[in-house]
């Protein structure tokens, strides 16, 4: 059988080459489809993980505003999140870790804030106090914000590297009861502070009593982004003037051990966000009319939607390639089978079983498929590189549209698609690792399965068409 298959391939060189070329084309298209599909799946996974899986328990501003009476002050309406509420959620399934945050406005006699505006900077302290005195409700008198955290380990600013630790360390749960703090590098340099130095901060409670706490610097970080600076009304709102402390200190300064500003829960997988929300609603007594669990997953949903579209396109493309490939291969085999009527008839008359005749055909086509498979693994790498470069430039242009800020570099890249560029793209792997569509072992296995399936269909269908006839009918047809 195998011997006959090899003989047949060797003798019918023209047909063999035709099938080889066709199968190479099909295999390359399948690789392109599989690569896009795998790349989108991988990107979806990356988007999911990069966007994080944190859910924040905070008050529902919209609902609170709806329930607000005319003329009522906002701080009278807002009911802060309590530790009792937050604790109900921290032990739920899916919760990997959590962080409670308390924000308190403070002043300090030991250090000066990094001023927001020059006018403020040039005015004297007395002037400023008078100025503030005129508009006590509008302007915040506090220069700093103490941000108390259960732990700083999961803070998105540090995880996303918007903030980078320059010296010392970040606060952990071990610092809960300590007076350690972490400050921004500009604030530190303006006040000649370094790790190990101390300074005092003061807050005022509802009874106008001053609460003074002496803090020790254990870490200094640098802000890598300017996005958050600007549009601030007061020094306190300037992120540079934020002082990170443990939760206990912030609670002390806030003069409340029951209230927190927000609680963030870090889940084990972003896919569990909805399940976590549902569970939170069913097992806790938190009033989700007043409070809300915000996953901040609109961006995720938007990205996922576009990636899902792309994956859907890749799936359709793949099925079209498989369908069209099988159809073309089937047609070619049917055409060549006409000349094999005779051979089938002879084999049948000699007593060869139909299964073995089909197997010989399958062996022939599989042998060609194996060679084309080998070639396609080489060329497929180039195809997937081209596909990835195209996806990359599509993504870049999408980003440009979204940001309405054309990037000179990417515009050049997308406009200058010469043949040389295409060749370079084919030979070089993409730089964007998020859109890596390179051939994975999984893709190779899938390609082998799909090629095998196409071969099987292409051989079995025409073979059945012939072998349903009796040997006499086949031999008569051949003679006719």
């Amino acid at each position: 059988m195998i011997k006959n298959a090899i003989l047949s391939i060797k003798k019918n060189v023209g047909k063999t080459i035709l099938l080889l070329v066709l199968m190479c084309v099909i295999a390359n298209l399948v690789i392109a489809g599989l690569s896009i599909k795998n790349a989108t799946s991988k990107s979806m996974e990356q988007v999911r993980t990069s966007l994080g899986s944190d859910v924040t328990l905070t008050y529902n501003m919209q609902n609170m505003m709806k329930n607000r009476d005319k003329g009522e002050a906002m701080d009278e309406v807002i009911s802060p999140v309590t530790i009792k509420m937050a604790d109900q959620l921290k032990n739920l399934t899916y919760v990997k870790s959590y962080n409670y945050t308390v924000n308190v406005g403070v002043t300090s006699d030991d250090i000066d804030p990094v001023e927001v505006s020059k006018s403020e900077d040039s005015s004297t302290n007395a002037d400023r106090k008078n100025f503030m005195g005129d508009m006590p409700k509008m302007m915040d008198q506090n220069d700093f914000t103490v941000v108390g955290n259960t732990t700083m380990e999961n803070m998105s600013e540090f995880l996303n590297e918007n903030y980078v630790l320059k010296s010392g360390r970040l606060l952990t749960q071990k610092d809960a009861d300590s007076k350690n703090c972490v400050i921004e590098t500009t604030l530190a340099s303006d006040n000649d502070l370094k790790v190990g130095d101390t300074f005092s901060v003061t807050s005022t409670n509802a009874d106008n009593e001053e609460i003074i706490v002496k803090l020790k610097i254990v870490g200094i970080y640098t802000m890598q982004t300017n996005d958050q600076i600007g549009g601030m009304m007061s020094n306190r709102q300037n992120p540079i003037n934020q002082i990170y402390t443990g939760l206990t200190i912030a609670q002390k300064l806030n003069d409340s051990t029951t209230n927190i500003s927000k609680a963030i829960y870090y889940l084990d997988d972003p896919e569990h966000i909805e399940a976590f929300k549902a569970k939170a609603k069913s097992v806790t007594d938190i009033d989700f009319e007043t409070y809300t669990l915000d996953a901040n997953d609109q961006v995720y949903q938007r990205s996922i939607d576009s990636l899902e579209n792309m994956e859907q396109f890749a799936t359709i493309f793949l099925w079209v390639v498989i369908g069209a490939g099988s159809a073309i291969l089937c047609l070619i085999l049917i055409l060549t089978m006409r000349s094999r009527f005779y051979e089938f008839g002879v084999f049948l008359s000699l007593g060869q079983s139909k299964i073995k005749i089909m197997l010989q055909q399958l062996f022939e086509i599989l042998m060609i498929a194996v060679v084309s498979f080998g070639i396609s693994l080489g060329t497929g790498k180039m195809v997937s590189n081209v596909v990835s470069s195209m996806l990359e430039s599509t993504q870049n242009s999408q980003k440009q549209v979204m940001m309405e800020m054309p990037n000179e570099k990417t515009t050049e890249a997308s406009s200058g698609n010469t043949k040389q560029d295409l060749f370079d793209k084919a030979m070089n792997a993409p730089t964007n690792s998020e859109l890596d569509v390179s051939l994975t072992p999984q893709t190779v296995i899938q390609l082998a399965e799909i090629t095998g399936l196409i071969c099987l269909v292409s051989v079995v269908l025409p073979s059945i068409y012939i072998l349903r006839l009796s040997p006499r009918e086949i031999l008569v047809k051949k003679e006719g």
């Binding site: 003798k11 084999f347 040997p471």
Partner: protein
């Protein structure tokens, strides 16, 4: 049952539809073929000679009746198994595999019939040489052999299978008289010396006269018209 009987036509009917008309080829055909004898089926074109051979070779099924090989219905044996193990057929149009040379054609038939002999290629080559082909011709592409040479390859293929029943459709149609005579003698020897049953369809009276029994198909029936006394 007579032990010598190898093939029996038992009330065999065969017909085909020509539009709404049914054309009967065989109608209640009955005949028993014996081992050690050569048979010639003669008759006009379209009388059903080749159809009888096709049915005897298990290449098609009778519409009615049975064909028995050594007393067993070939439908029960299984047509493929029967063709593989019990019968050899030499076709008028040779029916060789075109991408194989003569030796490969013979060896392929042996492989299909699971015939195990040492040095298969040499065995095949010897049979072909016996039938008058040179070694070079045996290894040449069969499409480049003459009609007579191809016919001999087809006969060699049938002989190599070493079965008790050999069916031939005009086996000497493309051979010169001298070679034909040699082939006829080969078939006679296979029957008389190796106790095989050889059934030949032929137009050649000369050839038919050399066979032990001559049959014709008359009104759909197989009838003996002549028997040579040995």
């Amino acid at each position: 049952m007579d032990e010598n009987v190898i093939l029996t036509f038992e009330h065999v009917d065969y017909y085909y539809q020509d539009g709404s008309r049914q054309v009967n080829i065989l109608k209640d055909a009955n005949y028993s073929f014996e081992k050690g004898k050569t048979y010639a089926i003669v008759g006009a074109s379209g009388s059903g000679k080749t159809t009888s051979l096709v049915l005897a070779g298990g290449l098609d099924k009778p519409k009615e009746g049975h064909i028995l090989y050594k007393g067993e219905d070939i439908a029960k044996i299984g047509f493929t198994k029967y063709r593989c193990l019990d019968v050899s057929i030499v076709f008028q149009s040779y029916n060789l595999i075109t991408y194989m040379n003569a030796v490969q054609n013979v060896v392929n038939a042996m492989d299909i019939a699971h015939i195990k002999v040492p040095h298969k290629n040499q065995y095949a080559l010897n049979i072909l040489k016996e039938l008058g082909l040179s070694e070079e011709e045996c290894k040449r592409d069969v499409r480049k052999l003459s009609g007579g040479q191809q016919q001999r390859v087809a006969i060699a293929r049938a002989m190599a299978k070493d079965v008790d029943l050999i069916l031939c459709d005009e086996p000497t149609g493309n051979l010169d008289p001298e070679t034909s005579q040699g082939i006829i003698q080969t078939f006679i020897d296979l029957a008389h010396l190796k106790n095989k049953c050889v059934i030949i369809v032929t137009h050649s009276k000369e050839f038919a006269n050399c066979m032990d029994i001559q049959l014709q198909i008359h009104q759909g029936k197989l009838e003996k018209i002549n028997e040579c006394s040995q």
